[in-house]
């Protein structure tokens, strides 16, 4: 097997465990993994990551769904909002400093993280 294939397989396993364990997509692992380990562009890494998330989120969703751990009504409502939000976000990204946005959001995440740990 080529080393790129081995790296891809290893990356998928790590990202999949994180996705299943924490109920996230795994992009936070896949995107930097593709850029740093497989030397592809950020744009291709984003696109490739979304395709892998289809597979990992389907598998993790099935496991949570079987155990009755999904609130489908809440999921539908959040989905409606997020589709609209994606359009607004793309517009926003063109006009706002990414650094300011990233630091502001990181602080919100850190506050939520501390709240969840305590």
């Amino acid at each position: 097997m080529s080393s790129a294939l081995l790296r891809a397989l290893a990356l998928g396993a790590i990202a999949g465990i994180v996705a299943g364990l924490f109920g996230v997509g795994g992009g936070v692992i896949v995107v930097p993994g593709l850029v740093l380990w497989l030397a592809i562009t950020q744009r291709e890494a984003s696109g490739t990551s979304t395709a892998t998330i289809v597979a990992s989120s389907a598998a993790a969703m099935a496991a949570f769904g079987i155990s009755g751990s999904i609130d489908w009504r809440a999921a539908a409502l959040v989905l409606v909002g997020s589709v609209a939000g994606a359009w607004i976000g793309a517009w926003f990204a063109e006009r706002v400093s990414e650094r300011a946005l990233a630091i502001t959001f990181a602080l919100v995440l850190a506050a939520a993280g501390i709240r969840m740990v305590i």
């Binding site: 364990l21 409502l77 990204a93 946005l101």
Partner: protein
């Protein structure tokens, strides 16, 4: 009624952040459902995945049309990703909700630190890269 509006607004904010910062929705959905809406950690994670899955399909179609998907990498990553995700989900479902919530909190703190570090290093005018994780 208030809860319905709140959940739609949560999706809206998560969608904006995801598209503008290239971050996934999951790291917004899970803490918001737990901290603001009082969801059990397991239900928050399962619900997050139920939003991520259709979002990822739509985003993949858009990226694929623009030629941004490297399928020779996406397919092997997705294959071991399925195995890893089932394993991770089974571990999560075995864990006590309080312990899982604390682990998630630590995960968020690591991500927040990484974001600040990156924001400092990366050129401010760099291009944002959306993905629906």
């Amino acid at each position: 009624m208030l809860e319905i509006a709140g959940l739609i607004v949560l999706g809206l904010i998560a969608g904006i952040i995801a598209a503008a910062l290239g971050l996934g929705g999951g790291i917004v959905f899970v803490p918001a459902l737990v901290v603001i809406f009082g969801f059990d950690q397991h239900i928050a994670q399962g619900t997050s995945l139920a939003v991520i899955f259709p979002t990822a399909i739509m985003a993949t179609l858009a990226h694929s049309r623009m030629g941004n998907v490297r399928w020779e990498l996406a397919i092997p990553i997705g294959l071991t990703g399925i195995i890893g995700a089932v394993l991770g989900a089974r571990i999560a479902l075995q864990l006590d909700a309080d312990l899982l919530r604390r682990l998630f909190g630590v995960f968020l703190l690591i991500l927040a630190a990484r974001m600040v570090w990156h924001a400092w290093r990366v050129n401010d005018r760099s291009e944002p890269t959306p993905d629906p994780s």
